[in-house]
Amino acid sequence: MIENLLPNVDWDKMWEATLETLYMTAMATGFTFVIGLALGIVLFLTSPHQVWANKMVYWLTGAFVNIFRSIPFIILIILLIPFTKFLLDTIRGANAALPALIIGAAPFYARMVLIALREIDKGVIEAARSMGAKTSTIVWKVFLPESYPALLSGLTVTAIALVGYTAMAGIIGAGGLGTLAYLDGFQRDQKDVTLVSTIIILIIVFIIQWVGDGLTAKADKR
């Protein structure tokens, strides 16, 4: 029955591609979270009137974030080919897509981290300082828990964007559902492969959104 409707779909290949997409999305989201969070915190702490207010660091970090956030992802991948080759000695496969995915997404997430931190009630930060808290204590015990829902919903948006990025990474042969849809679906004109790839990508996106929303709602005690 399914074979008749979707004659060209090789389910083993489809499953393998799905796992590759999930692998790239998960790894890239993990690194993006750590790097984006660090960048966002540096941006926040060095911004005017904050504890480490420093025009130079703020400007440089801001410039880095803005530049990499602004380059269209498809171009970023191509620009980063030499860097990836230097780092991994190959430009093929799921791992080879990771540098571009992370460098593309981390600055995007850093901006969302900055927005989340700016939303924290200034009075709470002042209260922590009035209790004699160090800056590192304030970062760990005030910034992160008090902005947690916003950090989480930002990460959900970023992870979904990353699913899209992994599909584009198909052009450098990263593997995953994007590569499959492009090579087998488009170039060999197998429309059913494109359709199934798309449906699986949609399911992944919906699951990420659903889990992200659920965790955010649960974390928010306001």
Binding site: D121, G123, A127, R129, M131, G132, E146, K221
Partner: protein
């Protein structure tokens, strides 16, 4: 306990310099509840933040319990802050933490062990009357309960000084009274020195021993609360005192009564401290052949005793009235005859 010497704080703003605190000198004694009153923009928020180093003075010095806060920084300042704690108008609790975890926060900062924290938090919850609400989140509490958490949190590291930044301004009158009573109770039980800033004379009247009035960054008048109520000198102080005594309403009534009762004499009595509790009036009525008509009066309780004003119409024959007024003077009650012309 606290000494401020020639303390000034200037902020650079878009259009020039803003002097928030202008050459303030004052001393707060150990165990005292000291109030600072002023309208918004008078510089009182900046002043209170200079006391725990949240703001650095432009010039002058702040000394708390022998340590110069204004020149401290780093670890020395952070340790000092554990002994000079603060409560806030908007409570500033961490929404992500439960009541007990909020109270535990300053203990974590001070590096207290988990077991000791749990024990201390339990004591504090009892002290501020929040038993049963330990695991609630701030969003599930009323304003008064939130401020109780704020107070418990501020007391966690056994501070010597408690700074109150408009601590009751966001609360309704009834809750305000309950929180003020809690502060007085803590002051008496723990011998804690309290410095509070407010724009409500009611708060000063109810719990402070001494008060400083601030206007445009300067302390324009300072003294015991009773003194200030009895003999306010500056125009701004008179306005604050009027918040409690309402002189407009009284003068209207007086004018009206002068017309209504042309006979006898209208007398204004001011009682201070012990005098308010003695039966001066009933003796007056018993001893002299006069009619006494109470026109208007009020008694306000302060931490140093009661303070009150009473307007009387005394009627009868001239001699008896004069004798009665002479008697009032003898009783050391401030007496003023309001003329009929």
């Amino acid at each position: 306990m606290i000494q401020l010497q020639n303390l000034s704080k200037t902020f650079a703003t878009g259009n020039g310099q803003l002097v928030a605190v202008d050459n303030v000198n004052l001393t707060v004694e150990q165990g005292e509840i000291f109030g600072i009153i002023g309208y918004s923009g008078a510089g009182k928020s900046t002043l209170i933040r200079l006391l725990n180093g949240l703001e650095k003075p432009t010039s002058g010095s702040v000394t708390v319990n022998g340590q110069e806060i204004s020149s401290s920084s780093g670890q020395a300042l952070r340790s000092a802050r554990q002994k000079v704690s603060m409560i806030f108008q908007h409570f500033n609790l961490l929404w992500s933490r439960t009541v007990e975890d909020n109270i535990s926060f300053p203990l974590e900062i001070a590096g207290i062990s988990k077991a000791n924290r749990t024990e201390r938090v339990k004591e504090l919850i009892e002290l501020v009357g929040l038993t049963g609400r330990e695991t609630a989140y701030p969003s599930q509490l009323s304003g008064g309960q939130k401020q109780r958490v704020g107070i418990a949190r501020a007391l966690a590291n056994n501070p010597e000084v408690l700074l109150c930044d408009e601590a009751t301004s966001a609360l309704d009158p009834e809750t305000t009274d309950a929180i003020l009573e809690l502060l007085v109770d803590i002051n008496k039980r723990l011998g804690l020195t309290i410095v509070l800033i407010t724009h409500e004379m009611h708060v000063i009247r109810k719990i402070c021993h001494r008060v400083a009035v601030m206007e445009a960054g300067k302390v324009v008048e300072m003294g015991s609360v009773l003194e200030i109520f009895q003999t306010p000198e500056q125009a701004i102080t008179k306005r604050f005192v009027a918040q409690i005594n309402g002189p407009d309403a009284v003068s209207q009534t007086i004018a009206h009564l002068i017309e209504q009762y042309p006979s006898g004499k209208l007398v204004k009595l001011v009682f201070v401290g012990d005098r308010t509790e003695q039966p001066i009036l009933s003796r007056l009525i018993k001893q002299y052949q006069v009619e006494v008509n109470i026109v208007q009066g009020n008694i306000a309780q302060t931490q140093n005793g009661a303070y009150g004003t009473l307007f009387l119409q005394i009627d009868g024959n001239e001699l008896a009235i004069d004798q009665a007024i002479h008697y009032l003077h003898e009783q050391d009650v401030q007496t003023e005859v309001i003329s009929h012309d």
